[in-house]
């Protein structure tokens, strides 16, 4: 924390807001813990029941807290994480089927559909584009 006289008005305002909306440290620790868990286990079978058991809270409470702090639900966050990781695998030349399971999706169909929705390209289009780019 800096001395008050050299604090910008932005910093004072941020600190004011911080004390009002982020006063519950335990809540913050809970959602950060859940997000870290998703980051480290996105490739396994994750669901709300499991995540809420880990932090000893009800799943509806977790859903509400996560959305409140990250602006999206744990499932939406997980899907984005898996798509981001799948792009890395595809860039590195891993096959589409392998990639699908490596990032935790259970069906090739839902992976391909989600990938296309999120990136605007199918996994094979994305991979071909990346691989041809690296040959230039």
């Amino acid at each position: 924390m800096q001395e008050n006289e050299i604090m910008t008005s932005y910093e004072r305002e941020i600190n004011r807001i911080n004390n009002i909306i982020y006063s519950n440290k335990e809540q913050i620790e809970t959602v950060i813990g859940v997000r870290n868990y998703i980051d480290n286990n996105y490739d396994s079978d994750l669901n709300l029941d499991l995540l809420s058991h880990l932090r000893f809270i009800s799943k509806f409470h977790l859903l509400r807290l996560f959305k409140k702090h990250y602006g999206q639900t744990p499932r939406q966050y997980l899907i984005d994480k898996r798509i981001e990781k799948s792009k890395e695998h595809l860039k590195n030349g891993m096959s589409i089927t392998e990639t699908c399971f490596a990032v935790g999706f259970e069906s090739l169909g839902s992976f391909s559909t989600l990938f296309k929705t999120k990136t605007g390209k199918s996994p094979s289009e994305f991979q071909n584009e990346q691989l041809s780019r690296s040959k230039l």
């Binding site: 924390m1 800096q2 910008t8 008005s9 932005y10 910093e11 941020i14 911080n18 909306i21 982020y22 913050i28 959602v31 950060i32 997000r35 702090h69 990250y70």
Partner: protein
């Protein structure tokens, strides 16, 4: 419609290129001449070269309200632009060694960590790390 570009107002494009590439590590994606010595210069992150481009826009020199707004933001310490980083502390250490001045050292706010520095081109920039 797609979001592919954000712009940042700068007073001196040449100086801005030096700061944003040599200090912050961005790379130039497009650089083409416009009227009156102005250029259309966009930058991208080295690790995300097909990501959004950052336009170094000489707005404050050509549109007075832009300069007034930029000055007011600077004085209040408000960052209008933010960049995401993996680790705010590491960036803080690295940039401080390169002489960058921070108005807010790495601090926590809710589920993220942030810091604010002066880009020497008229702007406060916020670095953000999601926790």
């Amino acid at each position: 419609m797609k979001v592919t570009l954000i712009s940042i107002p700068v007073r001196d494009q040449e100086k801005a290129i030096k700061f944003y590439t040599e200090i912050l590590g961005f790379i130039i994606k497009k650089d083409k001449p416009l009227e009156g010595g102005n250029r259309w210069i966009t930058l991208v992150s080295p690790e995300w070269q097909d990501g959004p481009e950052l336009l170094l826009e000489p707005g404050p020199n050509h549109f007075e309200p832009c300069k007034v707004y930029q000055n007011a933001l600077m004085e209040a310490g408000i960052p209008y632009t933010q960049f995401n980083v993996e680790n705010v502390d590491t960036e803080y250490e690295k940039l401080t060694k390169l002489g960058v001045e921070f108005s807010i050292k790495p601090s926590k706010m809710g589920t993220w960590k942030y810091a604010v520095f002066n880009d020497t081109c008229g702007n406060n920039i916020e670095l953000v790390e999601d926790l």
